[in-house]
């Protein structure tokens, strides 16, 4: 049984068809990179899987139709990192990450030792322990992003949907994040992350899904998806591609002529 099974997914915003016939089966232990140009429908796909956007088609989460799940049941199955790094109030980093425990708590349940353990582990993973007592609003962009990712991890859902998690991170923390996601995918959670850095996606993801104009253009292992022809067609770029001992190296080097003029 797949953790997530999506078939014939259609989403329209106004008169525009944003997703058109998306089909996707996601198994436990995968780390999927969702790639595609701006406006391709990556964020919409993530939100639709979470039930945040009305859609037609089937979304089956952990064997049950998503529409039959209560909000809390869904929250225990799928955690989400939105692209907008919104932090409304100056709450401390520790409390912010603790918010991830909400779906697991009864209405008036207090914080228990297990919650603290989970939050500590998430903080260690994202390397934010040093500022656990600081106000989350005072952090730099990259630090905020790491804190918000830790919050999503603390939700301990078997599926983690992250919208551009590496945006704004320095190179070391980008690699650290990808390592964490790869590790989580092996141990506990399946990760689907939308991203623009093809190099990181190629190096760390177990599978890539390439979206263009609301449709899946290619789906499979990085070396199958990241071909010159695909990148040329979808992104309009020429790339430098090389298979090395550390994995695939992808570096866009120029726009294709058709885009240039």
């Amino acid at each position: 049984m797949s953790l997530l099974h999506v078939s014939d997914l259609q989403v329209s915003l106004g008169t525009k068809k944003v997703l058109n016939g998306i089909g996707l089966a996601v198994e436990k232990g995968e780390f999927i990179g969702l790639i595609g140009p701006n406006g391709a429908g990556k964020s919409t796909l993530l939100k639709t899987i979470l039930g945040l956007i009305a859609s037609s088609g089937n979304i089956i989460l952990n064997g049950r139709p998503s529409s039959s799940l209560s909000l809390l049941e869904r929250a225990r199955l799928a955690a989400y990192l939105p692209q907008e790094r919104e932090i409304g109030w100056a709450i401390s980093v520790e409390r912010l990450i603790m918010l991830g425990r909400i779906p697991h708590k009864g209405a008036f349940a207090a914080i228990d030792p297990h919650d603290l353990l989970v939050v500590d582990a998430a903080m260690r993973r994202m390397d934010v322990e040093a500022f656990r007592h600081r106000s989350a609003q005072e952090l730099s962009g990259g630090e905020k992003a790491r804190v918000l990712i830790a919050r999503a991890m603390a939700q301990e859902a078997p599926l983690l949907l992250a919208d551009e998690p590496t945006a704004g991170l320095d190179p070391a923390h980008q690699i650290g994040l990808m390592q964490s996601f790869a590790q989580m995918a092996k141990e506990s959670s399946t990760v689907i992350a939308s991203m623009h850095d093809l190099g990181l996606a190629a190096r760390w993801c177990t599978r890539l899904v390439l979206i263009h104009n609301g449709q899946i253009v290619a789906d499979g292992a990085p070396k199958i998806v990241l071909t010159r022809a695909n990148l040329h067609q979808v992104f309009g770029v020429e790339v430098y591609l090389e298979a090395t001992a550390q994995g695939l190296i992808v570096q866009p080097v120029a726009m294709t002529d058709s885009k240039n003029g």
Binding site: L52, A78, Y80, E86, L99, R151
Partner: protein
């Protein structure tokens, strides 16, 4: 951290209690402390009992109920709209309740049947809620709700002006204006009985939102992904405010700035966590209204200084100071 929070709650609770007792002991009739409290509790001592139970007790009780409603709903609305400038008046509820009251005074209904005024005011609040909900639509964004509230506020304000404009005689106009200034003078136990059920129901609705408001700190999509129903939060926040602030406005007239400033002032003391802000804002609001209502009786005994005037006079400069401080930290 937790201990500090309970200490804050205890301090504010104690402050409210002390001010409540002080409010009972303040008034034009100079009664000695032990006599008045004795009369209040035992019911023995003819005239004093009447003053204590029929005049001062309802006034103090309404101070607590109304102050807590303003503080609590202010904290909920700021959390829900993720905007530190949100306040109960923003949704058009105060303005519509005022309009209801004005119609009752204008038509002379309130002379025939005294409870017509609070009842009409409540009806005004309920109508405002439905209009705001209708305008905003289901699952509306924060901005739509604020705009809907502003529209309803303006319309109710315009209708109130119209009533004043066409007022049949200067006394009716005077009465309307005085009522709108906001006061707790000469309210009876009947007013308490009328407002209390709505206010208490409103409190239950508003207090139930604590955890959802915490989750909303990260935005509505993130909150929804944590199992929070945004639609439910919207309904509870608006209905809870309508019930508690609508009923409050119905008996006291519009009292401004408390719902805006109290949550602002207390937020840093609870580490900015929206759920923890709710109970402290309720207690803080109750304390402020009780204190202001004591002050109007001390500053100008016999002149009937209006409570709403005092909160605005103190509140507006304070608000300016807040803006100034925010600007400085933003730079």
């Amino acid at each position: 951290m937790k201990d500090r929070y309970f200490l804050l709650l205890a301090c504010l609770g104690l402050l409210t209690l002390v001010l409540f007792i002080l409010s009972l002991l303040t008034g034009p009739a100079s009664l000695c402390v032990s006599d008045s409290l004795h009369a209040l509790l035992t019911g023995r001592g003819d005239a004093i009992v009447l003053v204590m139970r029929e005049i001062r007790l309802p006034r103090a009780l309404l101070g607590v109920l109304i102050g807590a409603s303003l503080g609590l709903s202010g904290a909920v609305l700021q959390g829900y709209l993720r905007n530190p400038l949100a306040e109960p008046g923003l949704l058009g509820i105060s303005a519509s309740a005022s309009l209801g009251a004005v119609i009752a005074i204008y038509t002379g209904l309130s002379l025939v049947f005294p409870l017509a005024l609070p009842l009409m005011a409540l009806a005004g609040a309920v109508i405002a809620v439905f209009i705001v909900q209708m305008l905003a639509g289901k699952g509306a964004g924060v901005l739509t709700i604020i705009l809907a509230g502003v529209a309803v506020s303006s319309l109710a304000g315009a209708m109130t002006s119209l009533a004043l404009n066409l007022s049949p005689n200067p006394f009716a106009a005077m009465e309307v204006v005085y009522w709108m200034l906001g006061s707790l003078t000469d309210r009876s136990m009947l007013h308490v009985q009328l407002a209390a059920p709505f206010i208490l129901i409103g409190w239950v609705l508003l207090f139930s939102l604590g955890r959802s408001l915490d989750a909303l700190t990260l935005g509505s999509d993130a909150a929804a992904s944590m199992g929070v129903s945004i639609k439910r939060v919207q309904w509870l926040a608006i209905l809870g405010t309508a019930a508690s602030v609508g009923a409050s406005t119905a008996v006291s007239g519009a009292i401004g700035f408390v719902g805006l400033i109290i949550p602002h002032l207390l937020r840093p003391l609870v580490g900015s966590q929206p759920s923890k802000l709710l109970p402290v804002s309720a207690l803080g609001g109750a304390s402020i209204i009780l204190a202001a209502d004591i002050l109007v009786r001390i500053i100008a005994p016999g002149r009937d200084l209006k409570l709403g005037v005092l909160t605005a006079i103190v509140g507006a400069p304070f608000f300016l100071w807040l803006v100034f401080r925010t600007r400085r930290t933003a730079l």
